[in-house]
C-alpha cells in the first residue's frame, strides 16, 4: 500500500463492505499511522446490497474518519435493471462493472486497491499484485508483467491504471484469523442468526428486495444461517450455520466442504465466467 501511495498520483480503495475490505482498511490504517489513510474509499452501490451492509458502511467509515465516495449507475436503476428482469450477467455488467469503470474514470484514479484473493476462484489465482488495466479498464491475462521478489513495476502510460491486490496471498481462513486477532468489526450478516429466507437449491435467498419472485412451492421460512461472502441480496445465498462468533466461523471453515463463492450465483452463469467478467473490467 505504501508502494502505491509513493508511486501513483491518485489511488483509491474499492470498498465492498465485506470482510476482505474490512481487513484492507485495517492494513491501510496501519500502513500510514500516525497519519490518516491518504486515499478515499469507493463503494459501488448497486442499491441491491443488504440493508445491514449499508448501515455498517456508514457507521464504520464515519467512526474511523475515512473519506467515502458512493457511486451508483442511476441510469440503469432508473431503467429498472434488476437480475430477474435482465439476467444476472447483464445486471452485473451494468450495476457493477460499468458503474465501477465510470467511477474510476470520473475520479481519474490511476490505482485502485481491491480485496480480491487468489484462493477465491481459478482466474483470480493468476492475478498479479499490481495488475495492469488498459484505458478501457480491461484485463489481458496473457500479457501480464512478471512479478519477481517483491519488486513491483508501477510504470503506466496515460489512461492506463492498475488494480492492486494486497491480500493476494491470503486465504479465507487467514482473513478470519486476522479479523479475530485484531478484533476488526465486520457486518453482522457474517454471523449466524435466524433469518427469513427461501430455500432455493443449496442457497438460502433473502427476500429483502421486493422484486425477488417466489418460485412455485417456495415458502419463506426462518432458518439459522449466515453469509460467507457478501454481495447483492437477491444473488447471494446464505448457508445454514450456527457459527455466531469469529472462532466458530474459523472452526466451521476448517471443516468446510464448499468454497465461499459457491453461492455467488454470478460465478456460475457459464464456465470461466469470472475470467470473462475480469477481462471486461470487473474485479
Amino acid at each position: 500500500m505504501r508502494e502505491v501511495v509513493a508511486e501513483f498520483e491518485r489511488p483509491v480503495m474499492l470498498y465492498s463492505i465485506g470482510k476482505d475490505s474490512s481487513v484492507l482498511l485495517r492494513l491501510a490504517q496501519k500502513a500510514f499511522y500516525p497519519g490518516p489513510i491518504p486515499f478515499p474509499l469507493l463503494h459501488i452501490d448497486t442499491t441491491y446490497k443488504f440493508r445491514e451492509m449499508i448501515e455498517f458502511r456508514d457507521r464504520y467509515v464515519a467512526e474511523i474518519g475515512a473519506r467515502l465516495i458512493v457511486h451508483t449507475n442511476s441510469e440503469a436503476i432508473a431503467e429498472g435493471t434488476q437480475p430477474f428482469l435482465v439476467g444476472t450477467k447483464a445486471c452485473c455488467g451494468a450495476l457493477k462493472t460499468k458503474s465501477l469503470l465510470d467511477a474510476l474514470e470520473a475520479g481519474n484514479y490511476d490505482a485502485a486497491f481491491g480485496g480480491a484473493r487468489r484462493d477465491e476462484e481459478r482466474s483470480r489465482a493468476k492475478e498479479r499484485i499490481f495488475s495492469l488495466r488498459d484505458p478501457n479498464g480491461q484485463w489481458d491475462p496473457k500479457n501480464q508483467r512478471p512479478e519477481l521478489w517483491q519488486l513491483l513495476n508501477a510504470r503506466i502510460r496515460p489512461g492506463e491504471s492498475i488494480r492492486v491486490f494486497p491480500l493476494s496471498n491470503w486465504t479465507e481462513i487467514d482473513v478470519w484469523s486476522y479479523i479475530h486477532s485484531e478484533s476488526i468489526p465486520v457486518v453482522p450478516l457474517y454471523f449466524a442468526r435466524e433469518r427469513e429466507v427461501v430455500v432455493r437449491g443449496e442457497a438460502l435467498i433473502s427476500l429483502e428486495q421486493p422484486f425477488v419472485p417466489l418460485m412455485p412451492g417456495e415458502q419463506p421460512q426462518k432458518i439459522m444461517c449466515r453469509m460467507r461472502s457478501l454481495g447483492c441480496s437477491p444473488c447471494t445465498g446464505a448457508v445454514r450455520s450456527d457459527a455466531d462468533t469469529v472462532p466458530k466461523i474459523i472452526a466451521e471453515l476448517v471443516a468446510a466442504k464448499n468454497s465461499e463463492r459457491q453461492l455467488r450465483i454470478i460465478d456460475h452463469d457459464q464456465d470461466g465466467s469470472m475470467e470473462l467478467k475480469k477481462r471486461e473490467g470487473y474485479f
Partner: protein, 434 residues
C-alpha cells in the same frame, strides 16, 4: 505465518505437473466440493479420465482449450502441520520467465520429470533457473512410474543425472504417480525399494534456511510520513536483520549515521522489529532521507557499476544501445547493460546505473541483491537481475566512463534514420532527467 512453506513447481509440458498439484490439493482436501463438481462437469466435456486433476489449476480458458499451463497460478493449502503457497509455473518453453517468477519467492522447488522420457532440455533449464534464483532445496519427483512398472533402475538413472545438474544442492528424489497417487500423500506399496518419505510428508517436515533476521539490518525507505510538523517517520519493510531503538544505523546514499529513536506502529511502539515486518522508524538526528534511500547496519556496497545474472523476459531483445529503468528496492534509476539478451536467455552482464544504488550480492541478501529492468517504451518488466559483484573503479578508469553526452551520441547512432534518432535522444534525455 510461521510454518509457511513456499513451493514452486517446474517441469516440461506433459510431465503431469498440473495433475500432481491437483492431486495434492484434492487429497489434502484443499479442493472444495463445488470446485470438484465444476471440474467433473468440465471433464465430461473433454476426453480426460474420470477426474482431470489438472483442471483445478489450469484456470484460464485458453489453457483449458490448449491443454497447457501458460501463466503462474498460485494455490493455497494447509495440513495440520503446515501451510503452503504453491506457485504452479508453466513448462512450456516460451513461458520460462514465469518459472523465474515462481522461483523468486520459493523455498523449495519441485522438479517434475516424466520417467519415460528422462531428463529433457526443459527440466535441466528449469533446475538451473531455480538454482540461479537461490533455491537450495529440491524435490525431484519422477512421475508416471506406473507406466514403467515402477522400475528402480530408471528412477536411479534420473537421480544420478540430476545430481550432476545440481551439485551440492539438497536433492530429495521421490518416485511417484500423480495420476494414481503413489507416494504423493502416503507411501506407496508399489515401490517397496523406496525408503524415503512421500511428497507431502517431505513438504510438511523440510526445514528451510530462511533466517534473514540473522543478517545485517537493511531497510529501504518506501515513504516519508509527515502527518504533523513534529513527526517525521521513515516507513519501510525490513528486508533483513533486526532493529531496536538506540541502534546506530547509516542512511545511504549519504552514509551519515544516526540512532533509531522509535519504532512506531499502529499497535504502539516496538522494542524490536525484524525482517519481514513493515514499520515506521524515527531517528535521533535530522537527516535528509527520502524514498529510495536505505537505512542499514554493517558493510554495504554503494556504486553505479556491477555484474549481474539477468533473466530476459521480454520478446523485444535486450538492446545495449538503449537506456532501461532499473528498479532496486524502492529506488528506480536509469541503467545501461553491456550485453544483448533475447527472450528466455540468461546471461552474466555488466550494468551501469545513472545514479548510485545501495546493494548486496544476491547470494548474501535476496532483498538488496535483486532488481528488475523495465523497458521505458513499453513499461514491460523485461528483465530480472541478481547482483553477482560490484565492478570497482580502478584509478583513472572513471575518466573512461562514458559521459551523458557520449551516451546520448551512442543512442543517436543506433537509430536507423534522423527522425528515429531525434525521438531516441528525446526519450533518453527525458529518462536521464526524470
Amino acid at each position: 505465518m510461521s510454518g509457511l512453506l513456499r513451493i514452486c513447481t517446474a517441469g516440461s509440458v506433459d510431465d503431469g505437473k498440473s495433475t500432481l498439484i491437483g492431486r495434492l490439493l484434492y487429497d489434502s482436501r484443499a479442493v472444495y466440493e463445488d470446485q470438484l463438481h465444476s471440474v467433473q462437469k468440465a471433464s465430461r466435456n473433454r476426453t480426460a479420465g474420470p477426474i482431470d486433476f489438472s483442471l483445478f489449476t489450469d484456470g484460464l480458458r485458453a489453457e483449458r482449450e490448449q491443454g497447457i499451463t501458460i501463466d503462474v497460478a498460485y494455490r493455497y493449502f494447509a495440513t495440520a502441520r503446515r501451510k503452503f503457497i504453491l506457485a504452479d509455473t508453466p513448462g512450456h518453453e516460451q513461458y520460462t520467465r514465469n518459472m523465474a517468477t515462481g522461483a523468486s519467492t520459493a523455498d523449495v522447488a519441485i522438479l517434475l520429470v516424466d520417467a519415460r522420457h528422462g531428463v529433457r532440455v526443459q527440466s535441466r533449464r528449469h533446475a538451473q533457473i531455480a538454482r540461479l534464483l537461490g533455491i537450495r532445496d529440491y524435490v525431484l519427483a519422477v512421475n508416471k512410474m506406473d507406466l514403467i512398472d515402477f522400475d528402480r533402475t530408471v528412477f536411479e538413472d534420473i537421480v544420478d543425472e540430476f545430481d550432476r545438474i545440481l551439485p551440492n544442492a539438497n536433492l530429495h528424489p521421490i518416485p511417484i504417480s500423480a495420476l494414481h497417487g503413489d507416494n504423493v500423500i502416503t507411501r506407496s506399496e508399489r515401490t517397496p525399494w523406496f525408503d524415503g518419505m512421500s511428497l507431502l510428508q517431505f513438504l510438511e517436515t523440510v526445514q528451510v534456511d530462511r533466517d534473514v533476521s540473522g543478517k545485517p539490518f537493511r531497510m529501504p525507505v518506501q515513504l516519508v510520513l509527515r502527518p504533523t510538523h513534529e513527526f517525521r517517520g521513515y516507513a519501510g519493510q525490513i528486508l533483513s536483520g533486526m532493529v531496536r531503538p538506540g541502534d546506530l544505523v547509516s542512511a545511504w546514499p549519504g552514509g551519515r549515521s544516526t540512532r533509531v529513536k522509535r519504532i512506531v506502529t499502529w499497535d504502539g511502539d516496538l522494542e524490536v522489529a525484524s525482517a519481514g515486518q513493515s514499520v515506521t522508524l524515527t531517528l535521533e538526528d535530522e537527516v535528509d532521507i527520502s524514498r529510495g534511500d536505505l537505512l542499514s547496519v554493517g558493510e554495504i556496497e554503494v556504486g553505479q557499476r556491477f555484474r549481474a545474472d539477468v533473466v530476459w523476459m521480454d520478446e523485444r531483445p535486450l538492446d545495449p544501445g538503449r537506456v532501461y529503468l532499473l528498479k532496486h528496492t524502492t529506488k528506480t534509476v536509469t541503467a545501461e547493460v553491456d550485453h544483448a539478451l533475447v527472450l528466455n536467455q540468461i546471461g552474466s552482464v555488466g550494468i551501469q546505473t545513472a545514479r548510485p544504488i545501495i546493494f548486496d550480492r544476491y547470494a548474501e541478501n535476496r532483498g538488496t541483491g535483486s532488481f528488475i529492468l523495465i523497458d521505458p517504451a513499453t513499461n514491460f518488466t523485461s528483465g530480472a537481475g541478481m547482483i553477482a559483484e560490484p565492478i570497482r573503479e580502478r584509478s583513472g578508469a572513471a575518466a573512461s566512463r562514458p559521459s551523458a553526452a557520449e551516451r546520448l551520441a551512442r543512442v543517436a547512432r543506433s537509430a536507423g534514420n534522423d527522425a528515429d534518432a531525434v525521438e531516441a535522444v528525446r526519450k533518453a534525455l527525458e529518462e536521464l532527467l526524470s
